[in-house]
């Protein structure tokens, strides 16, 4: 049997493979030739590890949080709350290395010159302010008219 998924274009896939596989090979080959700088084994561990983390930890965790939240939160409130949770997770993840100062250099005061904990908290406050406004506007809009 030779059938692909219904959203897959057979011709497109074949063209994609012809063009894409050499590019993938170039990248893998380059990383191997450049082994002194890329430490291929360690690099592969990072790449595969982050892929696994994404598919089997981050997304399932998001699904679990959403599953729980939807059982607690009224149906109408879910889109704004989902937006708040999503933006919070992304902001915290991106800010984390800077908030914790993993790369800080005490001899370079021009690097990381801000209060990043305060900045992150301010950004999160703004996110949840928008969520609250969305909830209020959503409620006004859906209120029955007489």
């Amino acid at each position: 049997m030779d059938e692909t998924e219904e959203t897959t274009s057979r011709t497109g896939l074949i063209i994609g493979l012809v063009l894409g596989l050499p590019i993938i090979a170039y990248g893998i080959g380059g990383a191997l030739v450049d082994a002194d700088d890329t430490s291929p084994r360690e690099l592969a561990t990072w790449v595969v590890g982050l892929g696994i983390l994404d598919d089997f930890v981050v997304i399932p965790a998001a699904l679990a949080v959403a599953w729980l939240a939807r059982r607690v939160i009224p149906r109408r409130a879910w889109p704004p709350v989902r937006a708040g949770l999503f933006a919070t997770a992304v902001l915290v993840a991106v800010a984390w290395p800077i908030v914790r100062g993993f790369g800080d250099d005490p001899h370079n005061p021009s690097l990381f010159p801000r209060n990043y904990t305060g900045g992150l908290l301010a950004a999160l406050a703004l996110v949840w302010l928008v969520v609250a406004a969305w909830l209020v506007v959503g409620r006004v809009r859906t209120e029955p008219r007489c």
Partner: protein, 380 residues
């Protein structure tokens, strides 16, 4: 429900209680990812060509602020891609558990090509963010690893774009069929992802877009903050030049393919005709700021030494070691009237951290190639 739900078996489908695991959501996210990853790849390649130019390529000196823009686009589009990638993987997550895992050989190849796409994409974004945070929890050299994995990721993206081209085009050119009315939940979800992307860019881009700096609460730099009002990347301390740069017997050497090798003190350099230029320092990490420089034109100095025409110039630092202790001026850069050996910044002698006594500064160069604490020019 469209194909993502159908593709997954009933048992799997029941565990995903959202109605957004569907083709239209996946297609719109896919288009946005294609654009952001495409921009990232093009600008990343440009940065690579600037730093490691192949023999067939001359990296141009003009426009002077080009690298500033391309690198800001690189970091901003990578940052914007983070919410997009997470949302996309969430949307198509049911497909991960499709059984049997492949319906044909071609389908198996298509699905295998998703591994480098997902894992490579995750690595590119994670390592990029870590680099901006100057956090290196690995032993490999970040630029090279980031560069080679980019090819793997883009190759896998080409395969995926090919496979999904027709279905995506269908989504773009058609409105949802009547049987499947416009999903208000989809609009809210895509709006959430887009707003998060934009918000994340605004929160981080203030190191290069000065007017956004007040609200860029997560920006790595703040324009104007640093010695002489300009941020720095490598300090004199970390380059181990604190003493070397201040020695009274400092001399700048001009050697190699020249008629008259030169050995010049700081006073000798000051006695030469001075030229002024407004040029940005543009860092690979995405921050940039323009500044006012004053010093000796490289081309005047080379003329003074009787340097051979049409050759490259190696510019070396007092910095005893490190990958970026030297840079090369190609013909375009060595002849540009604004390529300077700067002695002053914003009206004052260079601060030690900005490269005292002499630094290279030229148009359209990545910050790491604006060599500081210059000790020697070798005409090759």
């Amino acid at each position: 429900m469209s194909s993502i739900g159908r593709a997954a078996s009933d048992g799997v489908r029941r565990r995903y209680d959202s109605d957004l695991h569907e083709t239209r959501t996946a297609a719109w996210l896919g288009i946005a990812l294609g654009v952001t990853f495409g921009l990232c790849f093009a600008t990343g390649l440009w940065s690579h060509l600037a730093q490691e130019p192949p023999t067939w390529f001359t990296y141009p000196a003009r426009p002077a602020g080009l690298y500033r823009i391309t690198q800001a686009v690189h970091v901003a589009s990578g940052t914007a891609a983070i919410p997009l990638l997470l949302a996309k993987i969430w949307t198509v997550h049911p497909k991960l558990f499709v059984w049997p895992p492949a319906s044909s050989v071609l389908n198996a190849v298509e699905r295998l090509a998703l591994l480098p796409l997902v894992a490579g994409g995750a690595f590119m974004l994670f390592s990029g963010i870590a680099n901006v945070a100057r956090w290196y929890p690995w032993s490999f050299f970040f630029p090279r690893a980031h560069f080679w994995v980019a090819w793997v990721t883009i190759g896998a993206l080409v395969v995926h774009v090919g496979a999904k081209s027709a279905a995506t085009w269908d989504v773009v050119r058609t409105r949802p069929p009547v049987a499947e009315p416009t999903n208000p939940n989809r609009r809210a979800f895509l709006g959430t992802v887009a707003a998060t992307s934009v918000g994340l860019v605004v929160a981080t881009i203030g190191g290069t877009v000065a007017w956004l700096s007040p609200v860029s609460v997560l920006a790595q730099r703040r324009p104007g903050q640093g010695p002489q009002g300009l941020p720095i990347n490598k300090t004199a301390y970390s380059a181990k030049v604190t003493d070397l740069a201040r020695r009274p017997d400092y001399r700048l050497q001009v050697v190699g393919n020249v008629d008259r090798p030169l050995r010049l003190s700081v006073d000798d350099l000051r006695a030469l005709p001075q030229h002024e230029a407004e040029l940005p320092i543009a860092c690979v990490e995405g921050w940039s700021q323009s500044a006012h420089w004053r010093g000796v034109r490289v081309r005047d100095l080379l003329d003074h030494a009787g340097a051979a025409d049409g050759t490259e110039v190696l510019v070396e630092s007092l910095q005893p070691s490190g990958r970026y202790r030297a840079s090369t001026l190609n013909h375009d850069h060595r002849t540009d009237p604004d390529t300077l050996l700067a002695l002053e910044l914003n009206g004052e002698p260079l601060h030690l951290d900005h490269g005292y006594p002499v630094r290279l500064v030229g148009p359209n160069r990545p910050g790491v190639l604006q060599t500081k604490w210059v000790s020697k020019l070798t005409v090759t």
